[in-house]
Amino acid sequence: MNLYGEKGNFIEELDPRMKLLIVILITVMTFITESTVLFMYYYALIFVLIFTSKLYKSGGRLLLFISVLFILQLLGQNIQNKGFRDSYIAIVILIQRLSVFVAMGVWASSKMKVGTFVTALENMRVPKGMTITTAVVLRYIPTVKQEFYYIRSTMELRGIGLNFKNIILHPIKTFEYSFVPLIIRCMTIADELSASAMTRGLDLDTKRIPIIDVKIKAVDVVVTVAVVFLVVGGMIAYKKLNGELL
């Protein structure tokens, strides 16, 4: 009996710790870089990761989104009023940087097995409380979309829909109406999930033994080293070209 269905390729099956390392490295580097060229280069790397993990649908959407952001940034150069232009570009760039978190989140959480993740964190000596909290959060993220759909539907029916007009005219109220039910649901789910996890011995003192090995394989190291090399190497090469480094 094949318990897990088909195995993914080596990028999809990358060790969770390595994934975490890559996520942290790329998000930090994209956030601190001031250069658009370097940022675009990093984004290209992110798309390589996303598409090799076969996340075509979310990848396509992200590609469209980030392209629009780059176009908006270019168009912004033509704004005459300097004050307005600066704040406009600052906002666009901020959204670009923040979108990296989403992109990396999509990549890292795909094919993620919660059991493996918990064990990986345990092996890294992360305190149990934190591991459990992180696992609950991870488990909740994919359901948010569905939950939010129900809430939006009701908002439509009650004439307080989440549309452009209401966001502009009543930003705080609209925000409140979208998030209050979400938080209440989130609390219920977290509570029930914890009860279920406890009856199944999640915080037993015995060490967890997962049914799939959680070991860092040679291929994981190779992939990670390659990504680190491309990220850091890209930055050094860029700075050399610009004469910032000797």
């Binding site: 009996m1 318990l3 097995k113 919660v114 009650r158 029930e192 009856t199 015995t206």
Partner: protein, 462 residues
């Protein structure tokens, strides 16, 4: 196997005892069904057995609960996790993994069993419970019924002596309930001690060895399976319990001849992007005062049909008319209201009063009208309460009150009676009849045959 002696239990959040002088002995291999109205304390009994009360749900416990020779007062939930497996009501919120295999292996992994042994146990659970086809899937692709089977497999893999289930059928359609019954039969045959708290009993009537009926935290009666099976629907209903023999229920409200047409669906089709038709060329007429029940298996698009009627989705083909006029999705939103199965998604403000005025037209008499509706829905007393602090039934009525304020002609209900006891189900049924008598047209999706027979004037099978 389980000895509950002279137990009193009070949740810290409540003033009244959830259980009083409760005595129950369960022997090895017994199949026990706990029955009673909502809030009678049957869930609390299951929580005593897996030690969630008072370990997780705080409260004061007196008396002794001995489970597999362990006194729960001296042990933790984790200690008991080797002996007791628990399945809960809502399959959405008891899953920890995102893949089925990981979920089934979860308890074994936590217990620190050697890898080979865990794999062996997982495989055994899958084969014996006949769920091979669910293997290696994402849990988000599963229906509620399938999720419940995986939850059972996950418990079963660990091979606990005792398995407690808290309303496992509450969110399931009829086919899924059958699947659940088959699996429970397997567990029983293998000698597990099983405790089920339920409202719907027809599916487990042949499995139960003993039935315990609980009322206000006290045992009202204990009877053998045979004594229970001999009870008539009327006996059970009088105790506030659901009917056991669904085939003996007559439809009450079936004589209806509508005159004023409210809603017409003509050749309606729908498909999600890039997938096959969910349904095609569907025709439907709904009159003023009518209560139309929509039945059919999960996955046939019942809820989607309601969303289309309410204008939350656009049909991919066909025409919809309300009061004789062709209506686009945007206009349908104004004439309709959708009462979801779970009202938590539908309440936004900090008091009952604000809730009904939110988004409604503020004309001259709106406050009078609001108060009148709250009285009708039996909510006036709670006018200043926070909606989140209301009970499930009260939240549902508040949601209905909102639809009244909106003057919606058509009110859609999605599974309004799932997980309700007999009296609450009759209350919902009566409420729907009241709405219909006041000139509303009602569409309701349901798996609950008893409810359908009680109030629907017509039935549409998808």
């Amino acid at each position: 196997m389980i000895r509950i002696s002279n137990v009193n239990f009070k949740y810290s959040s409540s003033d009244d005892n959830a259980l009083c002088n409760f005595d129950l002995n369960i022997t090895k291999g017994e199949f026990i069904v706990l029955l009673g109205k909502s809030g009678c304390g049957k869930t609390t009994v299951t929580r005593l057995i897996n030690a969630l009360a008072p370990d997780f749900y705080d409260g004061e416990l007196s008396g002794d609960v001995i489970v597999d020779e362990m006194n729960t007062k001296e042990k933790t939930i984790q200690d008991l996790s080797h002996s007791v497996g628990s399945v809960f009501q809502d399959p959405r919120s008891q899953f920890f993994s995102m893949d089925t295999t990981g979920e089934i292996a979860f308890s074994c992994e936590n217990a620190g069993l050697p890898k080979e042994e865990s794999i062996e146990k997982v495989k055994r659970a899958i084969t014996e419970l006949k769920i091979e086809r669910l293997l290696g899937k994402s849990v988000f692709e599963l229906s509620s019924g399938e999720k419940q089977l995986v939850a059972i497999a996950s418990v079963y893999a660990r091979q606990p002596q005792i398995i407690v289930l808290d309303e496992p059928s509450a969110n399931l359609d009829n086919d899924s309930v059958e699947m659940l019954r088959d699996r429970l039969a397997i567990l029983k045959k293998q000698g597990h001690t099983i405790v089920v708290s339920e409202h719907r009993t027809h599916y487990i009537k042949d499995l139960c060895d003993r039935v315990v009926i609980i009322n206000n935290g006290e045992i009202m009666s204990k009877m053998s399976g045979d004594e229970f099976r001999a009870l008539s629907n009327a006996n059970l209903n009088a105790m506030g319990l659901r009917s056991l023999n669904l085939e003996k229920i007559d439809r009450q409200n079936k004589y209806f001849a509508g005159t004023e047409l409210t809603l017409e669906l003509e050749n309606i089709s729908f498909n999600y992007k890039n997938s096959d038709d969910l349904f095609r060329n569907l025709n439907l007429k709904l009159h003023k005062n009518e209560i139309l029940g929509i039945v059919g298996e999960n996955g046939k698009g019942k809820t989607t049909l309601l969303e289309i009627i309410c204008g939350l989705r656009k049909q991919t083909g066909g025409e919809i008319r309300i009061n004789g006029k062709k209506c686009k999705a945007k206009d349908r939103i104004k004439h309709t209201y959708f009462v979801m199965q779970d009202s938590d998604y539908q309440l936004f403000t900090e008091s009952v009063e604000n809730e009904i005025y939110l988004g409604s037209k503020k004309d001259k008499n709106y406050q009078e009208k609001g108060i009148e509706i709250l009285k009708l829905m039996d909510l006036y007393y709670y006018i200043n309460r926070h909606p989140a602090s209301l009970s499930g039934g009260q939240k549902q009525r508040l949601s209905i009150a909102v639809s009244y304020m909106k003057d919606a002609d058509i009110i859609c209900f999605d599974e309004p009676t799932s997980g309700l006891d007999y009296n609450s189900m009759i209350n919902v049924s009566n409420l729907l009849k009241t709405l219909a008598n006041q000139g509303k047209a009602i569409v309701v999706t349901t798996h609950d045959y008893e409810f359908l027979a009680n109030c629907c004037t017509s039935i549409f099978d998808m």
